[in-house]
């Protein structure tokens, strides 16, 4: 009797499998036809690194404080500091991101107190030579020109380390000329 029970349960389960696969046959595909269709990248998506500019003045937010450079675990960022003689403000003379070794961890973005550097959802940067993957300041600024970003809260003294990354951050009028606070020199 056991033999027949096994036999028929086997047939039943085989048919169950066929039913499962047949169920999906007429269904719409879940895949995307990649070059034609593209997935909308989420807000927090960590793609290529860009430098953000102030939307009003069009200048870089970066003050060359080197925090991102220190935070980078693979040493992909290289900054040369310089000082503007007239306004007495520091700015990055060169800002180089080596995308061949960048691991897109986002630690630089977290380290930055000035909304200067951000990882964006851009990802299509395949090239045939490694040289063109080392982005200079101008390219990074160009890429970050239209990137929308939420201003981080500037009161670093109140919360020294916690990056209060709440989703509904009120847009604050934080001028980029604010003096750097809470920065370990």
């Amino acid at each position: 009797m056991g033999y027949f029970k096994e036999f028929f349960s086997g047939i039943y389960n085989l048919l169950l499998g066929l039913k499962t696969t047949a169920k999906y046959l007429p269904e719409r595909a879940v895949t995307l036809q990649y070059p034609k269709e593209k997935w909308p990248m989420p807000e927090r998506s960590r793609g290529i690194v860009v430098l953000l500019s102030d939307p009003d003045t069009g200048e870089l937010n970066c003050t060359a404080c080197l925090l991102c450079q220190k935070a980078c675990p693979v040493a992909a960022i290289t900054i040369t500091q310089a000082k503007n003689e007239t306004t007495n403000k520091r700015y990055p003379k060169t800002f180089e991101v080596n995308n061949t070794i960048c691991c897109f961890c986002g630690l630089c973005e977290e380290a930055c107190n000035f909304d200067a550097i951000k990882l964006t959802g851009l990802y299509e940067f395949a090239t045939f030579d490694k040289e063109s993957l080392i982005f200079q300041k101008e390219k990074l600024q160009e890429l970050g020109r239209n990137v929308k970003y939420e201003k981080k809260r500037k009161s670093v003294a109140k919360k020294p380390a916690a990056k209060s990354e709440t989703t509904e951050t009120k847009p604050q009028s934080a001028a980029p000329s604010d003096p750097p606070k809470g920065e370990e020199a």
Binding site: L18, T21, Y24, L25, E27, A29, V30, T31, Q33
Partner: protein, 351 residues
Amino acid sequence: MLELTGIIQWVGGIVTSISNSLGLPQIIIDIILILLIAVAIFAFLMLMALYLIWMERKVSGHIQDRLGPMMTGWHGWAQTIADALKLLQKEDIIVANADRKVHYWAPIVVFTACFAVYAVIPFGKGMLAADVNIGILYILSITTFTTLSLLMAGWASNNKYALLGGMRSASQIISYEVPLTLSILGVVMMAGTLSMGKFVELQGPYIWKWYVWPQFIGFCIYLIASTAELNRTPFDLPEAEQELVAGFNIEYSGMKFAMFFLAEFLNMFTVGAVTTTLFLGGWNPPLPALAFIPSWVWFLGKSLFIVFVIMWFKWTYPRLRVDHLLSFAWKVLLPISFINIILTAIGITIF
């Protein structure tokens, strides 16, 4: 009106009249006609194989919630042609210490064998290349050549995976040949003939005269055993991608690999065609009222449905292990097919 019989006779008539006017002897005319038929079938089969590969991709894609090839043409219809062109350009690699002659002949044997089967397949009304009176026996013996070629490929490749695959294929195909033949025996007993054309005639014109109803067990056994003969999942042990990488054809590249690949799909269509002829009424429509659809459409539709079912199996089931595979053949399929034969014999005697 859409029947191709008229066209075939018309072409045949033209060839005959031209040859007669040239004063060629009868034997030459026959040879020309046979060659023409062979070329026509060959062209059809090549198209069929390309289409089947595309169909497999589409079926698997849709079963797996994706679309399959989409880039080349409408829903990627030209994908297989592109692949074939790529394979044609590839270098033909023969590994060192391989048995070069056997390595060379193996794909040719399998391809020739699967092509030769179509001499006796009735594609439609009046579309049978050679109505030999032992048609089904011919098919059974010709398809066995596959074993030989797989064994040749496995042996000649000088590769351990290929050798294991070849050995597996030999034991597997020889084992499954037995229930396969016995399952056909039921139909043969009912029909009292071995001719493929007769089978079709006997199953017309109503759906309830098809042999699939009295011979349902035989039909199931035939489908299972022929899936095993085809080396397709769940019986694809000679290839067994996860164990033997690609089994017997691991060392084949370029056009030789393509020949194995095409032969696999052609064999699949062969199984569909034979199943249609034996069990599903061949080119007969289910009811005489549906005869306005040409017979070859019915034939192709039924065959492709069987092919689809085999594909459906492939994309649903895991693979058997080699000892289970053989014990399944000898311990399950063989007794059931004997029972089927006995039941058929009793049935024939009573009715």
